[in-house]
Symmetry: C2
Subunit: 175 residues, 2 copies
């Protein structure tokens, strides 16, 4: 994982190879292929699933929970390794339906499941409706951060998480 | 433009080359290079700037205007050429800061400027505050559609534009 993240940061996603990762980690290529199907899956796990273990904190309000969630997401998307890997990685995912299905079931679904408590708590507080399209809300948060930070090339200002949480939080609140 | 869109759809972004576009269009490569800096800029213009000329319609409400905007965006992101081009194109943009700056000033900024009336009208109707972070709202809409349709691989259902417009529209309304 460390060898992969370092290599992506140094040479970029396109020039990272399984062979170079193996050499840096001091293992054989077959050792890597026993656990990962290829470069995209290896890089994805090295760059993005390190920090997802922590459950989303209960801050007492939907907007507060979303702000905390977005701060973690912005931090994750802004690391040198993630910034170097993300666009090439997304292109590989989109071009390979099999890989897309595997990433979705192995990583995205568990990550989203971990966020369900945020929305359950907001329903219990009476802030949001039970019928919320949770998947779409999460795609909205992640897509907004990706477009704003990785694609449009904006530096994520200190107010970004708060602004986005305010927009989306108010958008899904009951009235 | 037609040759480019056809080729991307048939062989994918990675295998599209300026040479192949030139051959299909019956012109020399230098004719293409006189107008476009390279593949990314050519494909971007062929795939995305065909339908942006029409101004966003005034439907009488912020949510209605956003729904119309999102329907156009979803349609644009879902064409065979756009679906084939988008991920590879985004990877090329993100890897090339110079290209990113040029695309931003030549295409994104005018496209966003064209959408400013939607938010101006909503301020005039008393629906939204004048201080709205318009850029962030637009990145949110585009990012949500990109993540949901192109990346996660969801088919855009008929309710997608309405659901997203409801979330973002309510999120930016004054109370």
């Amino acid at each position: 994982m460390t060898a992969t993240a370092e290599l992506v940061t140094e040479v970029g996603y396109a020039d990272t190879s399984i062979g170079a990762v193996a050499a840096r980690a001091g293992v054989g290529k077959d050792t890597i292929y026993r656990r990962w199907s290829g470069k995209a899956e290896l890089v994805y796990e090295a760059v993005f699933t390190q920090t997802e273990a922590a459950p989303a904190p209960d801050t007492g309000s939907l907007t507060g929970d979303l702000t905390a969630l977005l701060e973690a997401l912005i931090q994750e998307f802004s690391t040198p390794a993630a910034a170097a890997a993300l666009p090439g990685l997304l292109a590989d995912f989109a071009a390979d339906p099999e890989l897309q299905v595997r990433i979705r079931s192995d990583f995205l679904t568990p990550a989203k499941d971990g966020l369900v408590p945020v929305f359950e708590r907001s329903v219990q507080r009476g802030e949001a409706n039970p019928g919320l399209p949770v998947d779409l809300v999460l795609d909205t948060l992640a897509g907004a951060v990706f477009f704003h930070v990785a694609l449009v090339g904006e530096q994520p200002g200190p107010g970004l998480a708060t602004q986005l949480a305010a927009i989306v939080g108010r958008g899904i609140e009951t009235r």
